[in-house]
């Protein structure tokens, strides 16, 4: 059982705990509570389905932010072999909030980029909770251009609350760094597969977060603004995020419906952290099949298709 309990799964956690206690008691005191245990087990199973099936958008946001949820480095460790990490933007520094490296996925040599959150407080401080500074985004851009130069397909893992909001980030051109990545990604002459594995926070996510395919994990979200920030703008009250997370239509299902994402990778009941190995296998096969389709295509055509697809996003009227 996982240690971190999300608000909405508390009733389930409590029942699960009761079951563990009962089993322990039974074992210790030889009370022969087999029947009661079976009953409680059935109850737990039923509640688990009720709690986890049809999660609300806000509940999905909590799953996407779960501290034990697999992170970019977990995907790299599980899916990639012969990894060679690349450091630095050659302009200012090395931002650990972004991973970039040469890696082999499903037998294909690729360039891999991802937001890198930490697993604990110490790591998170070093990696700034996966929120990149301009130098991180510029390292990513360097990796994109290197991928293009050497004909390596690009695979990205998206998992950030957003680009870092701070004084130094502004001084070094956060907006400029994002924009340059968008322009570069749009015209990159190699296949680009983006995978939303957790949080997709606004411009900092988009800066490595679109391409020829966008694969979303079932509980990953992708949004123009965080539900909390949206709530504090609209209601001056960030605690109304559960409402705004529904308004913003930011779940994987929403993205497919809006024509922005292509595919949803299902997660185990309760979230990816419940059975990471199963999720790794599914993500690997989704990436492999996307690369199989894209790598056979003529490169100029790929860029044109990507451009046409980007250009077609939007809902408007031409007027009278």
């Amino acid at each position: 059982m996982s240690r971190f309990v999300m608000e909405f799964e508390r009733p389930l956690a409590e029942l699960e705990e009761k079951l563990v206690d009962l089993k322990a008691l039974d074992l210790a005191a030889e009370l022969h509570l087999g029947e009661e245990i079976a009953e409680l087990e059935a109850e737990v199973e039923q509640l688990r389905v009720t709690v986890y099936q049809a999660l609300s958008p806000w509940e999905r946001v909590q799953v996407a932010r779960h501290p034990e949820r697999p992170k970019t480095q977990d995907y790299v460790a599980a899916l990639c072999s012969e990894v060679f990490e690349l450091h630095g933007d050659r302009l200012y520094g090395d931002d650990e909030a972004i991973f970039a490296g040469l890696a082999t996925i499903a037998g294909r040599r690729c360039m891999v980029i991802g937001h890198r959150k930490g697993k604990n407080t110490k790591e998170n401080i070093r990696r700034n909770f996966g929120s990149p500074h301009p130098e991180g985004l510029r390292k990513a851009r360097r990796a994109m251009l290197m991928a293009e130069k050497f004909g390596l397909p690009l695979v990205t893992f998206v998992d950030t609350q957003g680009a870092h909001p701070g004084l130094e980030a502004e001084e070094r051109g956060q907006g400029w760094a994002i924009a340059e990545n968008l322009a570069t990604l749009a015209a990159l002459r190699v296949p680009v597969v983006a995978v939303g594995i957790g949080e997709g926070g606004s411009g900092g996510a988009l800066a490595i977060g679109f391409g020829d395919r966008l694969i979303m994990l079932e509980n990953a979200y992708y949004s123009v603004i965080s539900p909390e920030a949206c709530a504090s703008i609209l209601y001056k009250d960030s605690s109304r995020a559960p409402e705004t997370s529904a308004c913003l239509q930011m779940t994987a299902d929403d993205l497919v419906r809006l024509g922005i994402a292509d595919e949803i990778v299902p997660e185990p009941l309760g979230g990816a952290h419940r059975d990471a190995a199963a999720v790794f296998a599914r993500v690997e096969s989704a990436i492999a099949s996307a690369l199989d389709t894209l790598c056979g295509q003529e490169l100029g055509g790929l860029v044109e298709k990507r451009f046409v697809r980007l250009s077609s996003i939007g809902v408007f009227t031409e007027g009278e």
Partner: protein, 307 residues
């Protein structure tokens, strides 16, 4: 009245405040206080100064129609895509419905969307000219703004006209959710195309320019200008102070700050913008000079003129 007529009606008196007509019967609106030098100003007087305070040169916000008229050679601006307007694909309704916000923004500004685009001449150069209007939902970029900007890029490329965009924006239009965020990628892709085609692109960052708009097409220009004192950045100062608890230096995110940090080319006063842009275009639009067609990369200027 259709916007084309409206432009025509304004051609005669070029630099007018959008709200001037209303203020005629609202005595309170006739006078305003300059937020910078605190002088009380007659609003009508600002019409003759491009909305710049005559005492301290504070630059007041400028509407998009006034902006394009202030930049285009007289009588040359022809609007394109005037009717293009956002819909409400998410049926976004929190506190106030988006449909309501759109309707009231249209009524208030007389515009269909937060950006005005068109063909014009600037210093004799054929250009595609666009301006964003902060009064229209904070000139936020939704589907329609993104589409109009992308079409402006496409038009500039198709007709080999330099692109000039005067930008102001609070950022992405959150009421259109991910469709808005993707406009950042869409407009950046369009900017990249124009750049590869070798067509000049100049952006003018005006107060305020923030968020997802800063982080897309405006900063991909060949030459980036900004008006004095304009606030420009990705994350707004209030959010930075709240999230990071950093206190910010005086002058943070002003146009002058950005020049110092190497992010923009020059701070140019509103009254000098047209001339500055024309001068840059003289260099970047050598395709217009007959000698360039002969392969002369460095045409020799004739004495006393650059034609």
């Amino acid at each position: 009245m259709p916007i084309s007529d409206w432009f025509k009606a304004r051609e005669g008196r070029r630099y007018t405040v959008a709200s001037a007509d209303k203020s005629a019967d609202l005595p309170d609106g006739v006078w305003l206080k300059c937020p910078s030098c605190k002088h009380t100003l007659y609003q009508g007087a600002l019409e003759n100064t491009l909305q710049v305070c005559p005492h301290c040169t504070h630059h007041f916000d400028m509407s998009a129609p006034d902006r394009v008229l202030s930049l285009a050679d007289e009588g040359t601006f022809e609007e394109t895509e005037a009717g293009l307007s956002s819909l409400d694909p998410l049926r976004f309704s929190a506190k106030k419905s988006y449909a309501q916000s759109l309707a009231s923004a249209k009524e208030k500004t007389g515009l269909a969307e937060a950006v005005v685009t068109g063909r014009a001449l600037l210093g004799g150069h054929p250009v595609v000219l666009g301006a964003m209007d902060f009064r229209f939902i904070g000139a936020s970029m939704g589907s329609a703004v993104g589409e109009k900007i992308a079409r402006a890029f496409a038009l500039a490329q198709a007709e080999d006209r330099a692109l000039i965009l005067a930008v102001a924006s609070g950022g992405a239009r959150m009421q259109e959710g991910m469709l808005s965020l993707m406009q950042m990628a869409k407009t950046s892709a369009a900017a990249e195309r124009l750049s590869r085609a070798g067509v000049p692109y100049i952006s003018i960052l005006t107060n305020p320019t923030y968020g997802g708009v800063t982080a897309s097409f405006p900063v991909l220009a060949d030459v980036i200008l900004a008006e004095p004192g304009a606030l420009i950045g990705f994350t707004g100062p209030r959010v930075i102070e709240q999230t990071i608890r950093q206190s910010l230096p005086k002058g943070f995110q002003t146009a002058e700050f950005l020049v110092q940090h190497g992010m923009i080319d020059e701070v140019v006063a509103r009254g000098d913008l047209r001339e500055s842009i024309a001068r840059v275009l003289d260099y970047l639009c050598l395709g217009d000079v007959p000698d360039a067609a002969l392969g002369a990369a460095c045409p020799i200027l004739t004495e006393g003129g650059d034609e």
